[in-house]
C-alpha cells in the first residue's frame, strides 16, 4: 500500500473515533442539556488509563506511571471508559446538583484546566508533560501486524467499535430513558413535577457520556501509541462541540456528518498540506480559526445542524393530529429564533 492509503486510513480512524466522542457529548448536551465544557478531560482520563493499563510495569521503561498491568486490548479500553465514568460520578456530585448554566460552564472549564495542570505537573501519575509513549499496539502479535499494516487494521477495528456503540446509543435514545433525558433538557422543572428526579437522570447521562469519552480517548492512545498533555488542552472540548453542532444536536447520523466535516476535513486533512515557507504552524492556526468561524456561521444560519433532530411523535400525538388537534412539536433548536428579551 502506498503512503496515500495510510493517510486515508488515518483519516478514517479519526472519523470513527470522533463519531464515538460526539455521541458521548451528544447524550450529555444534546439529549440531557448538560453543558459539559470539561468533556476533553474525560477523553484524556480514558486515554491515560487505557495506556497505563496496557503498558508493562513502569520500572525499566524510562517512564513513570501508575498501574502498568499489561492488560490486553479490549479490557484496557473498557477500563478506560469505566474510570472516566467513575470520575463523572464524582464531578456530577460536586457540580451538577445546584449550579446554574453559566456557573456550571465556568466550573467545568476550570476543572478541565486544573486536571490538565495536575497531570502535566505531577509526573508519577502519567509521566507528566512527556505523557505516555511506547504503548503496545493491540492485537499486533496475534495478527502479525507491522507498524504499517496496523493502521488500516485498527481503523477497521475502531469502525466496528463505533458501530457497536452507535447501536447501543440509538437504543438508549429510543428508550424511555432517552425520552426522560430529552424531557429534562427541554424543561427539568416539568420533568421533576412528573416525578422524574432530574439530578439522577443527569448523573446517568454523565456516566454514559463519559464512558463514550473514555473509550474514544482510549482508542486514540492505542492508535498512535502515545498521549501527552498537548493533545487535550481545554480548547479541544470546543472541537467536539463543533462536531455536534455542525452535525446536528440530538441526532446520531448528524454526529457522523459532523465528525467528517470538522474532524476529518478541517482538523486532520490540512495536517498533510505542505507548510507555508517561513511561517511554521501558520496552516494549523488558520485551520483552527476556520473551525471557530464555521461554528459561528452554522449557529447563525443553521442552528439545527446539517442533519436536524427528528421530531419524535408519540402514538397519542399522531392520533391527535389525525383528529385535527395537532399539538405544537418542538426540538432543541426549533423555537429558538424568538427574542429572549
Amino acid at each position: 500500500m502506498s503512503a496515500f492509503w495510510y493517510y486515508v486510513f488515518t483519516l478514517v480512524f479519526f472519523l470513527f473515533d470522533y463519531f464515538i466522542l460526539a455521541m458521548g457529548l451528544n447524550i450529555q448536551y444534546g439529549e440531557t442539556g448538560i453543558l459539559n465544557f470539561a468533556y476533553i478531560a474525560f477523553v484524556a482520563i480514558g486515554a491515560y488509563v487505557t495506556g497505563a493499563a496496557s503498558l508493562p510495569n513502569a520500572a525499566g521503561t524510562g517512564q513513570q506511571y501508575i498501574m502498568g498491568w499489561g492488560l490486553p486490548f479490549p479490557f484496557n479500553l473498557l477500563l478506560g471508559g469505566l474510570v472516566a465514568s467513575a470520575v463523572a460520578v464524582l464531578v456530577a456530585f460536586i457540580v451538577l446538583r445546584r449550579l446554574r448554566t453559566d456557573y456550571l460552564a465556568m466550573v467545568l472549564v476550570s476543572l478541565s484546566l486544573v486536571l490538565y495542570d495536575v497531570i502535566n505537573n505531577y509526573v508519577p501519575l502519567f509521566n507528566g508533560a512527556d505523557g505516555l509513549y511506547n504503548v503496545p499496539q493491540p492485537m499486533a502479535g496475534i495478527f502479525h501486524l507491522t507498524t504499517n499494516s496496523f493502521i488500516p487494521f485498527f481503523a477497521v477495528v475502531t469502525g466496528l467499535i463505533a458501530l457497536l456503540m452507535w447501536f447501543f446509543m440509538s437504543r438508549i435514545m429510543k428508550s424511555p430513558l432517552g425520552r426522560t433525558f430529552r424531557a429534562i433538557r427541554d424543561d427539568d422543572g416539568v420533568a421533576g413535577a412528573l416525578g422524574k428526579n432530574p439530578f439522577g437522570y443527569k448523573l446517568t447521562s454523565m456516566i454514559i457520556g463519559a464512558f463514550y469519552a473514555g473509550v474514544g480517548g482510549g482508542l486514540i492512545i492505542q492508535f498512535g501509541g502515545s498521549f501527552n498533555p498537548t493533545a487535550w488542552l481545554p480548547g479541544e472540548t470546543f472541537v467536539v462541540f463543533a462536531v455536534i453542532i455542525v452535525g446536528g444536536v440530538g441526532n446520531n447520523v448528524g454526529m457522523l456528518v459532523g465528525a467528517l466535516v470538522v474532524e476529518t476535513l478541517l482538523i486532520h486533512l490540512p495536517a498533510f498540506l505542505p507548510e507555508i515557507p517561513g511561517h511554521p504552524g501558520l496552516i494549523e492556526y488558520i485551520d483552527t480559526m476556520v473551525v471557530g468561524a464555521l461554528l459561528m456561521v452554522m449557529l447563525w444560519f443553521r442552528p439545527q445542524g446539517v442533519v436536524p433532530e427528528r421530531v419524535r411523535k408519540s402514538a397519542g400525538m399522531l392520533a391527535d393530529r389525525a383528529r385535527g388537534r395537532g399539538r405544537e412539536l418542538t426540538t432543541a433548536t426549533e423555537g429558538q429564533g424568538k427574542s429572549g428579551e
Partner: protein, 291 residues
C-alpha cells in the same frame, strides 16, 4: 519568615492584576448575563497591542503604551459586541449559543495572535528596576505602580457605580434588564459602554500582567482566565464588590501557598478554594438575591 513576607508581597501584586480582570469580566456578565470565554484572549490582545506601542513599532514609554493598548482593546470589544455577540444574544434566548460563540471567538483570537506574533515569549521594553524595600516586602517600582493602578481602578469603578447616572443605570440593568428598559434607560447604549469598559479593563489587566510577570505569551490570558473565574465565583457572580474581594482572596492564597508547596500547583489552590466555596456557599461569598 522572609519567604512568607515575600510571597505576601507577590500576593498583593497578583491580587491587583486579578482584581482589574475580575471587575472587567463581572461588569460585562452583570449586564449581558452570559460568560465571555474569550476574555482571556482579550487580555492577550491588550497585552500585544501594548507591546506594539511599546516595543515593536512606536517605542513609547510602557505605561503610555498600556493606556493606548487598553483603550484600543476597549474599542475592539465594542466592535466585536456590535458585530457578533449582541446579534447572537438577541436572536437566541438560551445563553448557550452566545457562550459557544465566545468560545469560538477565543479560538480565533488566540490563533490570530499566534499567527501575527508567533508562540515565542516576548517582553516589554522597560528599564530594569531596582528593588524597593517597604517594611517586610521587596517589590519593584513597577509592581508598586501596578498596585496603585489597581486601587485607582477599583475606587473609580465603585464611585462610578454609586454616584454617576451611568453607574446607576448599569446597576439597574444588572438587576433587571426589562424593568430598566421600561424605566427609560437606553439599554443598548449602556451595553455598548459596558463592553468598552470591560474590554479596556481586560486589555489593562493583560498588559499589567505582562509587566508584573516580565513576559507576554499568547496563551497567558487563557491560563489566567481560570483564576479570574475562581475569583469571580468565590466573590459571587455578577457582584462587582464580590469580584474585588474574590480577587484578593484568590490572589493572596495562590501566592502565599507557593511559599509552602511546589509553585507548579498554584492554580490548584485556587481550584480547591473554588470547590469549597461551591460546596458550602454555592452563590459565592458576597452574592445578592437576583430577581
Amino acid at each position: 519568615m522572609t519567604l512568607f513576607w515575600l510571597s505576601v508581597g507577590f500576593g498583593f501584586v497578583t491580587a491587583s492584576v486579578l482584581a482589574i480582570a475580575a471587575v472587567g469580566l463581572s461588569l460585562q456578565f452583570g449586564i449581558t448575563n452570559y460568560i465571555n470565554f474569550a476574555y482571556g484572549d482579550f487580555m492577550a490582545l491588550g497585552a500585544y497591542f501594548t507591546y506594539v506601542f511599546n516595543a515593536e513599532f512606536f517605542h513609547w514609554n510602557v505605561w503610555i503604551a498600556t493606556v493606548c493598548g487598553s483603550l484600543l482593546m476597549g474599542v475592539l470589544a465594542v466592535i466585536i459586541n456590535h458585530l457578533l455577540f449582541s446579534r447572537f444574544a438577541r436572536r437566541f434566548s438560551k445563553t448557550f449559543y452566545v457562550m459557544i460563540v465566545t468560545f469560538g471567538l477565543s479560538l480565533i483570537i488566540l490563533n490570530v495572535v499566534y499567527s501575527i506574533w508567533g508562540p515565542d515569549v516576548r517582553a516589554y521594553a522597560m528599564p530594569i528596576e531596582r528593588v524597593v524595600r517597604i517594611g517586610p516586602f521587596l517589590l519593584t517600582r513597577d509592581q508598586l505602580l501596578v498596585m496603585a493602578i489597581s486601587v485607582v481602578v477599583m475606587v473609580g469603578v465603585a464611585v462610578m457605580l454609586k454616584t454617576t447616572r451611568l453607574g446607576k443605570s448599569m446597576r439597574a440593568m444588572s438587576d433587571n434588564t426589562t424593568l430598566a428598559m421600561t424605566s427609560g434607560i437606553d439599554t443598548r447604549r449602556i451595553t455598548t459602554i459596558t463592553w468598552f469598559l470591560s474590554g479596556t479593563l481586560s486589555g489593562l489587566a493583560g498588559a499589567v500582567l505582562g509587566i508584573s510577570e516580565g513576559n507576554i505569551t499568547p496563551a497567558a490570558g487563557e491560563l489566567f482566565l481560570f483564576v479570574i473565574f475562581a475569583a469571580v465565583i468565590v466573590g459571587g457572580v455578577g457582584s462587582i464588590y464580590g469580584a474585588m474581594a474574590g480577587a484578593v482572596i484568590i490572589g493572596m492564597a495562590t501566592e502565599i501557598s507557593a511559599a509552602f508547596i511546589d509553585p507548579a500547583y498554584k492554580l490548584d489552590v485556587a481550584f480547591v478554594i473554588l470547590i469549597l466555596t461551591l460546596l458550602f456557599r454555592p452563590n459565592g461569598l458576597f452574592s445578592r438575591p437576583k430577581g
